[in-house]
Symmetry: C2
Subunit: 236 residues, 2 copies
């Protein structure tokens, strides 16, 4: 076993992609699930466009990002849900060590909007995500004590609400994602993504500005109250 281990080489190569602060900042930014242009990411990370271009090359070649060229823009996004989960897991491992507090008032405002509700790749997070997850659990739609899975009643709930669940593919139907503001697991996976998509499509939630923060509308409050018994106060 003294010979080179291909698994170790692969692991090191993968980890190296996230082992640079600029690339890490890109990955975290892309956790909002949307596509960013190279320029946006360069400004976000605070480096020259040329530098960021090289970073994107590595991330795309490494399979972490998917790219899409449109005109003079280069859009990138996380390659798939698997990558998103990996980045989430790494970020969650980091969080316990680095408790963060916002500095300026503006950041505090943005921070609290993010803490109220946001998207985490393709599902809901923040207090909103927690409230939904807790409501699912309290109503017997979701098991959390013995793992993380939808119950039969949970499956029926999605059917009754008219939210389709794509059960092809190997992505788990329900999976826990650790929330970095709440430090608690919330609903991710196919079910979490479907719920988030439905919430944005039907107007239960709207995105705030160009950030990943989301806000529950009045219609959303009514729907969440009726379907899941969520008190609007819990979302404030």
């Amino acid at each position: 076993m003294t010979t080179k281990d291909p698994r170790a080489a692969g692991l090191a190569r993968l980890a190296a992609l996230a082992a640079d602060e600029t690339r890490a900042a890109c990955l975290l930014a892309l956790l909002d699930g949307r596509a960013w242009t190279a320029g946006e990411l360069a400004r976000h990370a605070g480096v020259a466009a040329s530098t960021l271009s090289e970073h994107l090359g590595k991330l795309v070649t490494g399979g972490l990002l998917a790219e899409e060229r449109q005109g003079r823009h280069r859009y990138v996004r996380l390659a798939d849900a698997r990558v998103a989960q990996l980045v989430e897991d790494l970020a969650a491992q980091v969080a316990p060590g680095a408790a963060e507090r916002p500095r300026t008032l503006r950041q505090a405002g943005a921070g609290s909007a993010m803490a109220r509700g946001r998207t985490c790749y393709d599902h809901l997070a923040g207090r909103l995500g927690i409230a939904v997850t807790d409501a699912f659990t309290a109503r017997g739609l979701l098991l959390q004590e013995t793992g993380f899975a939808l119950t039969d009643a949970g499956l029926r709930w999605f059917g009754a609400a008219g939210i389709g669940l794509d059960r092809r593919g190997r992505r788990p139907l329900a999976r826990a994602c650790l929330d970095w503001t709440e430090r608690r697991p919330h609903l991710a996976g196919v079910a979490g993504a479907a719920l988030c998509r439905h919430a944005l499509e039907t107007g239960w939630c709207v995105r705030i500005g160009s950030e990943r923060a989301v806000k529950v509308t009045e219609a959303g409050e009514r729907a969440l109250s009726e379907l899941l018994g969520i008190d609007a106060e819990a979302l404030r």
Copy 2:
């Protein structure tokens, strides 16, 4: 947002720990859940003892490893189940790209023993792990279709088998771990760990040599057949 993001810095620092091939080899080796001495790891990775000593320093400081000094030996192991899961997840992400085939006959032999059954940190993996997980699922003890969680019947099964489950702490009771030889999820988490510990303590399984491979004993075949209806042939 052009200022430095502490979360990105933390993520990069964490990833950098795994971004070196020698350290990656150590992390993978330690996935067997046992404690290795610095010398063993140095020989395994094929570097000088002095080099490996520095790597261990970084991994311990970074919180990935826990160390224990005994006489002139320095034993290290993965810090906790959280770290183990992270390494597993990273390794699983790598596996699809690098299909590996054993080179020599000896490696083939060791490889097939590993494929039959092994430990993955603190739970069972390989065909053995898959067989157990499938048996749990088939008997309604474990949900896999809608997530990954023990059912009430599953909880009762552990009670009836006299296998205690420590439900304090935040570690999930049941969780999926992707097997890199079988490419399928198997039972990990508190339940997976308890089952593996029980199997080794009662002699259902024994470790083969000093490797992480395990072998099912005759008593183990009887027990697995009686308690879970597992056909001994499925373990070959």
